[in-house]
């Protein structure tokens, strides 16, 4: 019993105390609107920006038929394409780049080594000490050693025609060198 009375009291009590809050809110809610509010709002609505109107074709030129629309579309395409073509024709193409033709190094084409030789990078090996005697010999001037010349075979002389341009004979180098040796003798 006491619990129910307590519950009922707790439910009523907030309403009693919150009643003053609701009274205040109701007082504010009942406040009249200021005079001339409607007129001001209506004036504001009239001065508000309106929707833009779409321009209409004149009656005589109104494209009612489908062929007119097609013609208009074709005209638009023609103008756009013509403009593009005009721009394309006016703009000069840039000069072609100057190409330096490099001579082919090899007959087969491609890159050449240009005579360069590859030297493999190897580790330095142990240094070999040269004998002292050789060094002394190297310091001294070299002695003239007699040259041993083998006796040459006697070859019968041949008459060889000379070429017009170089004046050199078509004889082998060996045979051409032989008379010089014999002269030295």
């Amino acid at each position: 019993m006491s619990s129910t009375s307590h519950n009922s009291n707790s439910r009523i009590a907030p309403n009693l105390t919150s009643g003053s809050a609701e009274e205040t809110l109701q007082l504010i809610a009942r406040l009249p609107a200021p005079e001339g509010l409607e007129d001001r709002v209506n004036a504001g609505l009239k001065s508000a920006p309106r929707r833009g109107r779409v321009l209409q074709w004149p009656a005589s030129l109104r494209p009612t038929a489908s062929w007119m629309r097609g013609a208009a579309a074709a005209a638009v395409v023609f103008v756009v394409a013509g403009g593009g073509w005009g721009i394309y024709m006016r703009v000069q193409p840039s000069q072609p780049a100057r190409v330096i033709v490099m001579p082919h190094a090899g007959a087969g084409g491609g890159f050449s080594s240009a005579g360069a030789m590859r030297t493999p990078q190897t580790l330095n090996g142990p240094l070999v000490a040269e004998p002292v005697t050789e060094q002394i010999d190297a310091a001294q001037p070299a002695k003239a050693q007699p040259v041993q010349i083998k006796p040459l075979k006697k070859v019968p002389a041949k008459v060889v025609p000379l070429t017009r341009a170089s004046g050199k004979s078509h004889v082998n180098n060996k045979t051409a060198a032989q008379p010089a040796v014999s002269v030295a003798k």
Binding site: E38, V41, N42, L61
Partner: protein, 197 residues
Amino acid sequence: MSTSQAIYAGWMEIPNSTVNDLARTHAEEVAVAALVTQYGGALYRVAYSVLRNPSDAEDAVQEAFLRVLRHRDTLDEVRDQRVWLIRIVWNIVLDRKRRSKTRPETDDVAELARVLPSSGLSAEQIASAAQHHAHVLACVEKLPAKEREVLQLSAFEELSSVEISQVLGITESSVRSRLFRARNLIADLLNHARTLK
């Protein structure tokens, strides 16, 4: 060539669709003006109960009707125009209040004494009543947003719980439970303030 001559010449003909559009626009503007006359005051009071500033409340009403004017094509589809308009202005004032974190003007006791009705009361009574109202409003501001909104809307006698639920976009049972919670909370706040005194 004058405008009328051009129209008669045929190259500046006003089409029937344009005439219809003009007539329709005029009819819609008349309908909106009627809404302003009918519900302007109610919308102002709703706006004022939240913003508690006359000029801000009027601006909110103006903005609400501008929105209506923008969506006047859908005016015929609205079932309950009053609830629809209150919902629009409610959203506007909540948005404005969220943006400006300023203190409402009527929390000032002198301003409350000036605004609230005080017929047949002495100056002392008016002052004490204004002080009391200011204190109550300060307690209302301390409530959670959901409970405060329901309490503020319930103060309007013309709004039923169903209509409050439509304005807030919640169920009617939620409105009742929130209102009960709001009353409990405000009572606690007021009691707490009284014991502190």
